[in-house]
Amino acid sequence: MADHASAVEQHSPFLQHHFDDLSQQLDSSTLGMWVFLLTEIMFFGGMFGAYTIYRHMYPEAFASTSRYMEPVLGGMNTAVLICSSLTMALAVRYAQLGNRKLIRILLIVTMIFGLAFLGIKFSEYYLHWKEHLVPWINFQYPEHPEFFRQAQILFCFYFFMTGFHALHMFVGLGLLTWLLVKNERVSFGPVYYNPVEITGLYWHFVDIVWIFLFPLLYLIGANR
């Protein structure tokens, strides 16, 4: 199997010369992307760890912030991201099958979901700005003056964690634009769909971060 396959694949224009064959190339790029994603896990993990410490220290103050969050908008955004993950996964599937037209359509739909997410996210930021919830800049907390300083810690986590997540969304949108252009120039198909697969891994990772951010930032004290 291996000899037979490599004899054919050696002539593939997609094969870079430092790999034995195309399947080794795909496995290597997948593993390499996962190593990058592990560094991303530790990057967000540091913020999640710090969040855990402060939530443990100031549980009441953190719970008091939930009434200023927008759980319906946050929930909608979770759904939007999950839908975008579905269309991204299907784009990878059609890249495996080599259907250029469906890859194009699914990538565009994924980008529309991504832009919808960012639109909802930034309208939330605008609401928080108007409600004077931005730490250091215009923060006011008249309902619980005793939590004035501790609640700002939560809002710092909120803006930094969702902000870094939004930054990753922008990078993802850039990668999808690049894929969209590449899709017109290169014939993705069963032998070569690595860039679509790898970009898909990144997009799904950003979705996973949001899956954890949503309950941790929006729903802390929803039951009070």
Partner: protein, 100 residues
């Protein structure tokens, strides 16, 4: 090893489960379960993450080396948070010492 192409219904099924789990997360958050609120929320989030990793990110089909890397990543995150919390979570367990 080229990956097998999964049928569309697998992706749609995973998507449907993820959407249902999102509504469950939102609904359960408004019930008062005391300390169990966070446990349930994190269990649902972990389940959603596992489904995305296994099916959307194709880890179920990957070779063992990639699987090992993925598990190692989350294991180190667990170490980061658990060992930190063994410190912060237990700081007031001992009676206050005297200065001398």
């Amino acid at each position: 090893m080229n990956h097998k192409v999964l049928p569309i219904r697998t992706y749609v099924l995973i998507w449907a489960i993820l959407i249902c789990a999102t509504f469950t997360t939102l609904g359960v958050a408004f019930l008062d379960l005391g300390p169990w609120n966070i446990v349930v929320a994190m269990m649902i989030a972990f389940t959603k993450m596992s489904l995305v990793v296994l099916y959307f990110m194709h880890v179920k089909q990957q070779d063992n080396l990639t699987k090992l890397f993925v598990v190692a990543g989350f294991f180190f995150l667990l170490i980061l948070i658990c060992i930190t919390m063994t410190d912060y979570g237990t700081r007031n367990w001992l009676p206050q010492g005297r200065m001398w």
